[in-house]
Amino acid sequence: MFLCLFIDNFRLQAVSRRQALPPALPTALTNSSGNICELNHAAYTHHIRVGMSMPKAMSRCAQLKIVNPCLQAEKATQRLVWSNVWQISPKIELTRIGLVTVQLYRMDFETLCRQVEHCLGQLRRQDIFARAGAAPTPDWAELAAITAEAHSFKLKPDKQQMQTLLDHTALNMLPAMNDRTISLLDNWGIRSLGALARLPRNELGERLGTSILSIWDLLHGKTKRLLRFTELEPEFNETFPLETPIENLDAVCFLIRRAADALEQQLIQAGKVARAIEITLNIERRSPYRKRIQLPETTQQADLMERLLRNHLEQIQLRGAICEVTLSLDAVPPLGKQAGLFQHSVRNPWRLAETLDQLAGLVGEERMGSPRPINTHRPDSFTLSSLPTEFSEVDEATFVLPRIGPNLRRCRPAPKAQVQLHARGPAAIRSSIVTGEIQARKGPFCINGDWWTAMPWQLEEWDVEVADKGLFRIARKGRAWLVIGAYD
């Protein structure tokens, strides 16, 4: 059994998809001589036909969008079609532009119908409108696909059903038939492929030559050509150049969704998962915006990638309109790993990534994170790192170290204070934080560091109890007194 996918006006569809042109817009593709070679249904309704010159076509429809063929777009679309069909069977032949033939093995019709409908639906979501047909020979499958209704699947499992189809198919539907033969057969009263198939082979060959014999054999399913299978290497990037720059987030997200869907297919086909995603937005007359996002978990799902990117884009502000969107993935083989019995992991890593991204947008990336100490004795030295997504079992012995005294609550920046000294120690303090008589004191604790560098530091710290206010840490830095914080 063979399956054929036929994409009418393939080159036009490829360009329209790349430029995100709406299907309702009258669009036509021109060839090298400047004539219309492919057009969509909207253009057809404006009485534009294949072979017309551009001025003539424009005179019939002023809104007509004329596009040129784009090899890159065609390749990307072909790859997308190939990846989608690959999920049905890996034996794929790229027969010609807009036609893909697949060899099927041991497949029941119910499964086949479901898979083909899914494949057509996936392509439709990418603005690729295909039709499919399945039959016992590749040529019959092609005929079934060409004669299928728009966006649907025509299954002709045996010779009898195929004969019925041929009876209802016009002669010009077969690509191998030329106009002269069609008009001749028409004069004989032969108007369908079924009627042609019923004519005797030898007599037909005597009158019309040997070329008609191959057509006759094709209609009788006697020729079973060997398919030339093609393997396409997956490419994990999608680019959408835009003729009209966009400023709207929803429009960007629409393109991101489309790119993510296409990349998802590539990942499935390659059996890989995405580890990181990079988005590049080319901005008019500005340097491009680039962001690489490490995914919280490796995935193949377009939904999750799109949500993460949308969430990120909501937080940023660009200084111009976007003229190109590129999405690329860092694809890796899925890692087989078993978590330990007592190992904790994040409950919902995607939600966590979203929350962190939103928080970074709210307060700034440099103002949030997991605090980590730096290897120095300088007080209040820390760095903010990203939250770990996996961690091992909690060992209380490693973290609960005996500490003395209450926690400090720092004043940032430390306010200046006026300190009255008595017996070489502070006796009273006056500052914006605390004012009063010092009842008890402990110190000085002299600390210094970085004396071997150009920026040495030196502090003389005191722990003091201020009457009715509590415990505070104050410090002398040079000649100035500072309130470091309160023991809280």
């Binding site: 929350t355 961690f391 400090l408 609550r409 009715d468």
Partner: protein, 215 residues
Amino acid sequence: MIENADKRAATFRKLTSKIGVVSAASLQLTQELRPNHSGWIPPSRMVECVCTGSSVGGQSLVELLLAKNLKNGSFAAFVDLANGFDLDSLSLGLEERMLWVRCQNETQSLKALDLLLRDDNFSLVVADLRSSSKHLRQAPARSWYRLQRLSHQREGYCVILAQEHLSPCMDLSLTLSANHRFATLNQGRTNIQQTIAQQIAEQLDSPVTTIAEAI
């Protein structure tokens, strides 16, 4: 259909004659007013901890909460409006699963709280809003109610440290008022935390305090 409704009504009448009628609202109220005998801050509630001074144990309470949370193996978030968190005095290892969000103003801190309470990955969300009680009291009530609803919908803890009572929609309001004494500087951290836990337990176990705050 009507017969079924009549049957149900009759059954309901029989039941109410046996056990008495209790409205859903009063059941809810009974739950709210019931004193918390577990001796610790309840989960799924928005708990306010009013620190009347600068040195009453608010930061030590934060460390205590972080330590309890670390045992659960989930994340904790600390929304710091005062920007006063000190890593040097924190017990080593407690920062492992902690997210520190340093907000610059009240609006940011309320929004950050909103985002964090929506995420189930954080089983503990603590906010230190002590530096700006006046502005926060002027925040629209709907902001606080939204936070309250979010706290109710999640399983984790939500504790807000404030200088004074911020909003009437807090589920529970605790007070830390005893200033640290000089001798506390030589006390072990565990002892200090026990004292604070005891203060909280006393307030939670007291039905009068809880009823008053719930109302």
